[in-house]
Amino acid sequence: MADTTTSQGAAHSDSRAVAFRGGGFAPRPRRWVGALVFVVLILVAEWGTRAGWISALTLPKPTDVLETFRELYESGMLFRHLGPSLSRLVVGAAIGASIGISVGVLIGLFSYIRSGLVPLVAAIFPIPKIALLPLFVIWFGIGEGSKYALIAFGTFTPTVVATYGAVDNVDRTLIRMGQSFGLSWWSIVRKIVLPGAMPGILSGLRISLAIAIILLVAAEMLGAEYGIGAYILEAGSLYDLERLFAGVVILSLLGVTVSTVIGAIERRLLNWRS
């Protein structure tokens, strides 16, 4: 024993520390880094447009965009555009997501529904929903109906796919456990299948809701007087880049908000995950 302590102190000429080669592959959240990336990009754009190495036709000056945004807010037009857009988004996405989750659960549970609907979902998933806009106008009219339908249809397919995948991944031993305790079919679905599928459903919703925001602009291409999409399209057709960007910033903020809300729901509903 004494031998080892002395040899530890007196380093041999051929001894060296074992090189560390573990670690990594475990990204952790770093606060403010995300915000910093935005700030740096905006500062570069501001510097470039002021110094002149980015021409005014390529990119508007961020301060001008901010000014446009301020005017929009002060004139009260911001909320006249935001209000209808938000209601279209909420109604459309709620219809699409709820039908999507229901159909996804049914596909996950019943053989005939699965065999019947999975090919159908696969067939309608790749259709650009924007291409169907005229059809929706004929079916649901030029008013709000066709806009709700477009957004609902666009959120429906990714939600279905995410939901039935999530139901497939629910631990079967938990379902066997429910059966072995004599739980009713409905109890098993409500208390075991749905909570078990919740992580997958929520991550599917992240994608579906981003698609809903994309489709919002498409829906407002037709016969919308107010709405963020209408505002952007109008600015785009006039090549008014400041207003175009102000609109785009609103959509981005909307996306960040939706993602934050889902993150908060996940933290609340899924705190049981280790």
Partner: protein
């Protein structure tokens, strides 16, 4: 309530797993089923509880279960099968809710079974906060909550480390001594079998057939660690199983 297995034979496709198993499980006894891996012992347990149907043969209940039993045939699973999104108390209340037992009545049962499994301080904990041994005690508490006539235990201690396994075996013996229950206990661990079993059923390798039924008469409470009588039984069981286990080990895994 007794259970009788009558000529159980089962095959998955043309792959025979169990052949002509007939067995009586008497009330108040723990019957251990041991056998090499893949001999169909877990499948047999699923037949007894009605989670799967054999190709031939019948599982019979003889006599009515006690009137207060909510779920006469109740499993304890190897991997605990706790809902990770429910607390300890919530996992137990899950199996009571469908019987219309809620609020005060449920609280009373939950408090009682948690006390019996020494978990009273953990009723608000989530499964992810518990060790493997604690999780299995929650599963045992959940099983006790429905007052089973027969407990069907599928390698309940196999996912635990050796020390925890000893502690839980003591707990099971305590539970049985205070209030004898009927159990079918599937395991591949012979030490568990001789410690807990009134009868030990040895299955052969696939297709599983009963090779021998060993009765151990020492009362459960008196079976100490390193008991000479138990050692003798364990050696005997190992001799029965060794060749089967070796042959089973050399087979290709199917399915």
């Amino acid at each position: 309530m007794d259970i009788r297995l009558d000529g159980i034979t089962h095959a998955y496709d043309d792959f025979e797993v169990l052949r002509d198993i007939s067995l009586d499980i008497a009330s108040g006894q723990i019957v251990c089923i041991v056998g090499p891996s893949g001999c169909g012992k877990s499948t047999l347990l699923r037949f007894i509880g009605g989670l799967e149907r054999p190709n031939a043969g019948r599982v019979l209940q003889i006599g009515a279960p006690p009137p207060d039993s909510l779920n006469p045939l109740t499993y304890i699973f190897q991997d605990f099968a706790l809902l990770p999104w429910r607390t300890v108390a919530g996992n137990i209340s899950l199996v009571l809710e469908d019987h219309g037992i809620r609020n005060a009545a449920a609280q009373e049962i939950i408090a009682d079974v948690l006390a019996r499994t020494k978990l009273s301080d953990f009723s608000g904990a989530l499964p992810k906060q518990l060790s493997g041994g604690m999780k299995q005690r929650v599963a045992i508490a959940r099983a006790l909550a429905v007052r089973p006539a027969v407990m069907l235990m599928d390698e309940p201690l196999s996912a635990l480390d050796a020390q925890t396994r000893e502690l839980l075996m003591d707990d099971l013996v305590d539970l049985w001594t205070r209030q004898p229950f009927t159990a079918v206990y599937v395991t591949h661990n012979l030490a568990e079998a001789v410690r807990l079993g009134h009868k030990v059923v040895v299955l052969s390798r696939r297709p599983g057939q009963i090779r021998e039924i060993v009765s151990i008469d020492t009362p459960l409470g008196e079976r100490a660690f390193g008991d000479a009588e138990l050692d003798r039984h364990q050696k005997h069981l190992w001799q029965l199983m060794r060749d089967e286990a070796r042959a089973a080990d050399a087979e290709l895994i199917h399915g």
